[in-house]
Subunit: 466 residues, 2 copies
Amino acid sequence: MRTLHTSLQTYFTTHEQEHLEQLGEFLRIPSISTLVLHRKDMIKASDWLVEALTRVGLEHVKQIVTSGSPFVYADWLHAPGQPTVLIYGHYDVQPVDPIGLWDSPPFEPTIRADKIYARGTSDDKGQLFMHIKALEALFAIQGTLPINVKFCVEGEEEVGSPGLIQWLTEDQELLSADFVVISDTPLMQQGVPAICYAVRGLCALQIDIKGPKSDLHSGGYGGAVQNPIHALADLISSLHDPTGKIAIEGFYDDVLPVSAKERAQFTPILPPDTYLAAQLEVPELYGEKGYSAIERTWIRPALDVNGIYGGFTGEGTKTIIPSSAHAKISLRLVPNQEPGRIFELIETHLRTHTPAGVTVTTQRVDEGLPYVASLHHPAVQAAKRAYQEAYQVEPTYIRMGGSIPIVSTFAERLHTPIVLMGFGLPDDNAHAPNEHFHLDHFRKGLLTLALFVDQVANNGSVTSRT
Amino acid sequence: MRTLHTSLQTYFTTHEQEHLEQLGEFLRIPSISTLVLHRKDMIKASDWLVEALTRVGLEHVKQIVTSGSPFVYADWLHAPGQPTVLIYGHYDVQPVDPIGLWDSPPFEPTIRADKIYARGTSDDKGQLFMHIKALEALFAIQGTLPINVKFCVEGEEEVGSPGLIQWLTEDQELLSADFVVISDTPLMQQGVPAICYAVRGLCALQIDIKGPKSDLHSGGYGGAVQNPIHALADLISSLHDPTGKIAIEGFYDDVLPVSAKERAQFTPILPPDTYLAAQLEVPELYGEKGYSAIERTWIRPALDVNGIYGGFTGEGTKTIIPSSAHAKISLRLVPNQEPGRIFELIETHLRTHTPAGVTVTTQRVDEGLPYVASLHHPAVQAAKRAYQEAYQVEPTYIRMGGSIPIVSTFAERLHTPIVLMGFGLPDDNAHAPNEHFHLDHFRKGLLTLALFVDQVANNGSVTSRT
């Protein structure tokens, strides 16, 4: 292993200039998926990928057209008896507004203080690029790959992956693999590698309260009728109990308890609650008793009203009883909560708690399964060894409070463990001006990903699907 | 009395064409106070009034410039020993948008089906004009007036009467009177005259909840921190108890009970709750137990959230925990509730009920005292007799759920009973396209107002201030 490590290090050092130039080409393409104006750039970026993947030695490289921008597929399947990894990434990027806040133009990659600045450096072109170059290095050093590899690089991640999700619903064969690896998440902190092994699921809904047929003068009618905003406030208030737990009957029934052992592993890596409270500038943190704040986001479900509106919201006053009031609500789910079942429980709760004098309707708007990989899965163990070898630091196992729709979809459709090996940092400005990526993590990431492939090959039990 | 009645009727019939032409001149001036574009029209309308009041025989007619458009003052004070009435009205009108919905142009008075259509016919040029012509008729028939009269006609009613309120704060002498009469409110229904003897007071405030320093990703932080929208919902929910009563400690302490006798008078004139529920298209009415719906708006205080907003309110979803949440709240007060005291009770309630993890600030934005005249006041009795004489129908005594800021101000500054003798109808479209006024009420109104002046003179105890 030391030999491979040294060879890889030499290879990446020797080729760093060339790699950064190639990455620069990729970053210069303004492939903003949400803007129709950039349709041609989406094609340009996927063309660039086809060429890059082909040049490395991958086969069956093709653009697969779905509803919108195509996803790029490639594979190399010449390691019989060895596991197959599906490497997922995305070539689309976020918009660049407000453009005035960028210190250098978003599509002119610039290196300052050992960081590369451009839209997409961290999210996700830079991290995806490292996977390609890790394979290039292995091909160059060993003339082959020790495992089977598939690539799936989509152009719609920033707009909810509609095409890929649709594809996976209809065809599970093309992208089938023993596990999926994604590099699109941040570490907890600089210098400490982290393997994210769980994300929360999601269900999102809209609640609409209907009262009188039109807005009423609150002088003429105040006291006579139910005010839809009051009814909505009562309903929202009824969703939590006074201790901060969710008060929907049956809500926690399917929640898998997390072992004391697993929780004990969190302790050394979690920031203290006081630090978090100061950082967020709140008088105190708040939530379910018995868990630290970050634990509540990692292993416990949560319900949040994301937006509320009703009545007069302009400057000054307008004394009305509004005809309606509205709330957008999303829930984060943990294993084994199932979005469909949760929707039903919420709808029952709302129905049985609807105040007199109004009607309530709900609309389901989004959902995704929670996901957790077993820490004992060989791919997770391989990732751990690769990180340790490359960083010379024991990696931490982390979970994520957020939801990655494509992770839920892979888990649901391919029944495949997913390993989230991110190399970004929380302050990379992934969706903001001056997005950047640390070259230190670029170098360590290349090494980690190449070593990971090698580690997977040296562990025969990866193919045992969990 | 029959003689005067007959003479007045003859006078008004003889002069109806001439009166309608004069009213037409007044209505043609587009005196929209809220639009700077119409500044010159405000002057034009007040000039028109100066001339009209002078022509009738009033004295000391002048425009009094305050902050914005002037108010027009006039008096006739040659009835020693007799009471002084202050007649209040306004010459400004509401905007006319949406102009496309008018069947005839808003500033070209048109008579159709015995109704006169134009902006201001009901609110308030038409009703104000009747007061002027009532005096004209008395002068013509009797050569004098039996009581002392002051006129105050402002041009800022539709924008909150800032100039007049300021004037009344600084000078109570000019407009001092034994009572005030205002014709700017509707009857309950066609053909049944009504004397409005009470309006509710008002206090309005804004509540702002501050949570984390910026919007947070609800995946990353959901469960860790208090959500300002949840905190706001809890606070709003805490403002009422489960029976619909306001749950602010001490809130009802100053509420004057209304006698069973007074309430018994409401019964025959109030629509049944079922009628109101059908009209408003709500499943059921809702509010404090023990009162009918309209009673709750007339004699009980109410608290309404007029608007609420926070977080993401656009199309679709954005999974955030917002940094803040906001509500606009107004309360309707009844005698003897005092807005300043109520503000304090609310602020105390909010302070003691603020959920963990957020801060709450409140901002007082508006206030006005409730007002109720004694039914036994001679001016109210005089109005009753005048209505009965003119309509040949017993007038009803009604209260109003709404608040008229200038009524509160008169009551507070001049310590004067106010009699609201309206002749409009609820469906006159006062603030909407096709505003109109029934000529039947124009004719009966002229007669009522002239007879009212006569009735006041024939009752020696009017000057006894309540």
